[in-house]
Symmetry: C2
Subunit: 230 residues, 2 copies
Amino acid sequence: MASAGVVPGERDGDVLTADRILDAAIERFGCDGFHVGLRSIATAAGVTAGLVIHHFGSKAGLRRACDEHALAVMREQKTKALTDGTAAMFMAQLAEVEQFAPVVRYLLRSLQAGGDLAMTLIEQMITDAEAYLAAGEAAGVIRPSRDRAARTRYLAYQATGGMVLWFSVHGAAVGPESFRTLFRRYVEEITLPALELFSQGLLVDRSMLDDYLMYVPDPPSDGDAATAAR
Amino acid sequence: MASAGVVPGERDGDVLTADRILDAAIERFGCDGFHVGLRSIATAAGVTAGLVIHHFGSKAGLRRACDEHALAVMREQKTKALTDGTAAMFMAQLAEVEQFAPVVRYLLRSLQAGGDLAMTLIEQMITDAEAYLAAGEAAGVIRPSRDRAARTRYLAYQATGGMVLWFSVHGAAVGPESFRTLFRRYVEEITLPALELFSQGLLVDRSMLDDYLMYVPDPPSDGDAATAAR
DNA sequence: CGCCGGATTGAACGGGTGTTTAATGTGTTG
DNA sequence: CAACACATTAAACACCCGTTCAATCCGGCG
């Protein structure tokens, strides 16, 4: 049960059929959304709808397999290039490699749909960003926060959500641009404003922040996290 | 053609049936997503699926009507409270009024799905934010930017996308919390980190920004927008 | 060889979809 | 009252969906 579905035919001149189906599924799911029919995926893989069920049990099973594959690819590539912090930059550099574009598109779809994978991805991004920001703080290049966990979550949600929304709006609207080109345009569009905001903020003084800190008595709920202020 | 579909029965003790259908549609679309069946919407409105078609022509027509209604409500409420700038804050205060919660939920769904309404909403938010940020700049409370349009777009996408993603992940996951409570939790969660970021930035110095400005020759494409720097 | 097990297919099933159509009710008007 | 227009319904239609099933192909093995 634990090691089910492996090494049945094994040897084959071309890729295994199950892998071909999975690739086609990631491609179709990513491009058309999760409501695509099994038959559409099957024809894209050059097989029949029944065979997809035969290999993956059900459509839900196929999605689960896609999720695992995408997550595995993401994790593997992440260890290769563990710098860069922001998820957007990371996914951008990943999308540069044409081979991984379908996976990235699938991940964006998953984030848009908001299922289990979305939550896993977000939590993972938050964990990564936590470590990255903490390192930056320790190195003295990132300002400390009154509530580091909240800031990390905020930054992860904003960056990821902004990216997903941008692709939801611009993704299908524009012409026959390749996914790579689209991603490059997105990064170009946000880099300057993001750097400005991160480097200089948006407001000229701290009055709004101070007003809020005075208005709200407790930082989150514990006692001494406020020592990081100023 | 221009004034089609108005004043047919007009007088009625309770609300018009078409309005009841539309309210139910916004409710169901917002809660269950746009793939809900017409019959589900119809039963929620206490009518039959055929009647929905009879009044709105098709499911697409119903969605168009929902879009227009939601957009109209949003515009009307916006003029009532034109302060507060950020779209999140605005929608939060709108969601406070129980009556408007379904519309807000519908708008979130639309932004998540990314159709025409999503683009309209985003562009409108950008326009509003443009005016708001310009006013703040003129009043001396908001820092000028090297590329004001790009910054406005960036802020609008980040704020809106972050909110949509947060609700995609937390929306159905948690228990029987009311939409109001959920929105309050979101605002509570982001207010401090957002104010911190806007007031103090994230990085301790400008080296990353300066590196980027040196690496990239032209600001966007025109000539003198860089005078706003420093 | 003969059998067997898995890969693969094509057709069928049951259910859900959006939409159409004919019939029924119902209030307004001549 | 008769006639018409409209709201409303229930049933039917055609289609797509995920899934099942029986049959077929095919390679490995006793």
